[in-house]
Symmetry: C3
Subunit: 159 residues, 3 copies
Amino acid sequence: RSREMAKLTQLIDNEVFRAYATYATIVLLKMMLMSLITAYFRMTRKAFANPEDTASFGKGESAKKYLRIDPDVERVRRGHLNDLENVVPFFGIGLLYALSGPDLYTALLHFRIFAGARITHTFAYLIPLPQPGRGLSWAVGYAVTISMAYKVLKTALYL
Amino acid sequence: RSREMAKLTQLIDNEVFRAYATYATIVLLKMMLMSLITAYFRMTRKAFANPEDTASFGKGESAKKYLRIDPDVERVRRGHLNDLENVVPFFGIGLLYALSGPDLYTALLHFRIFAGARITHTFAYLIPLPQPGRGLSWAVGYAVTISMAYKVLKTALYL
Amino acid sequence: RSREMAKLTQLIDNEVFRAYATYATIVLLKMMLMSLITAYFRMTRKAFANPEDTASFGKGESAKKYLRIDPDVERVRRGHLNDLENVVPFFGIGLLYALSGPDLYTALLHFRIFAGARITHTFAYLIPLPQPGRGLSWAVGYAVTISMAYKVLKTALYL
């Protein structure tokens, strides 16, 4: 099977595909970071969603009061969901885009702008920055994904 | 590296893979559309989740009243989350299915029915249509994904 | 086009890629199962989110009382969202990892531990098990994904 393995390695050796793999991994790791930030806020704000998560704070009513909604926790969770809504299309459409034969410079431009926009979006959400900071960073990432989708459909369209 | 690039281009030249790329992009774009519809309802219903989003409506209490839950906004958000829950498995299992060597006719049938079911689901959710309209369109997309998963596991199973 | 199809088939013939396809499909199917469990709890607890879903229980006020939040339904929904937050990174980073040329034994170790951790997480959430059962199963899956991301970036990094 070494010949097939060689072919796979060639895919990961392709520069556009390597750039895609790098930036896709970065934005997925950034999205995963939201889980840790949520856990941090749940613990420092003592605001949990499940009774079993508050058991270490005592029994009965004394633990029940930590089953509550906290605005900081909810803010991180909204940021996390927004990541899911935007990183999933980037990952999917970006993969097809990377396979559609774009030139390296154009592909890097798309990937870098998307990653920068989503990192900015996270800071804008968590600090929070005044609008339209968050809105613009969201729109830039959205536009990059649409641009890649256009290239995929132009190259591959088969209905 | 032109030889490797040629190989990548061959992947996107394959008809099953092109059909997958087309329908995967369509359903991901449709999912992305939910963000715009949410933004539209948030602005027309004046119902926001973040204090900084209401700052342009005035200061203090006059802006605070727009931090509220609106049933139309929540409906679109439920539709968006339902898309995530169903389009993600389609994208992932569909990619593996497209690489598992299905015949073109069968693959197109799967992709077309899934895309049609999800577009129907969105209309059923947003109009809304009486049940079981939304439930059936959801079930059709679900069944298509299960059918592709069966083919993937039959072809590739390696535990 | 039979030559190209042959190449695609070679991808699915590669043992690492077959293992990836198998475990990715398993965890995506497990995630899809959460939809059915949600539907089951919504119907047995009679707790719905959309007015049109309660129409079969009567008209007006008699149906309205079923538009409510149920703790069991919410628990399954939190488990489903947690799946999305963790299975999406596994699918994406795992795909790139499978293409980065890991040895079969190491790759299988990653995929098996992740799948086991997520299945454990679901049981821990739904039974529910006392903490840190759910927390640990979440952390194991998270760590496996980070480990794969490290390999992808080490192999493919192209900024």
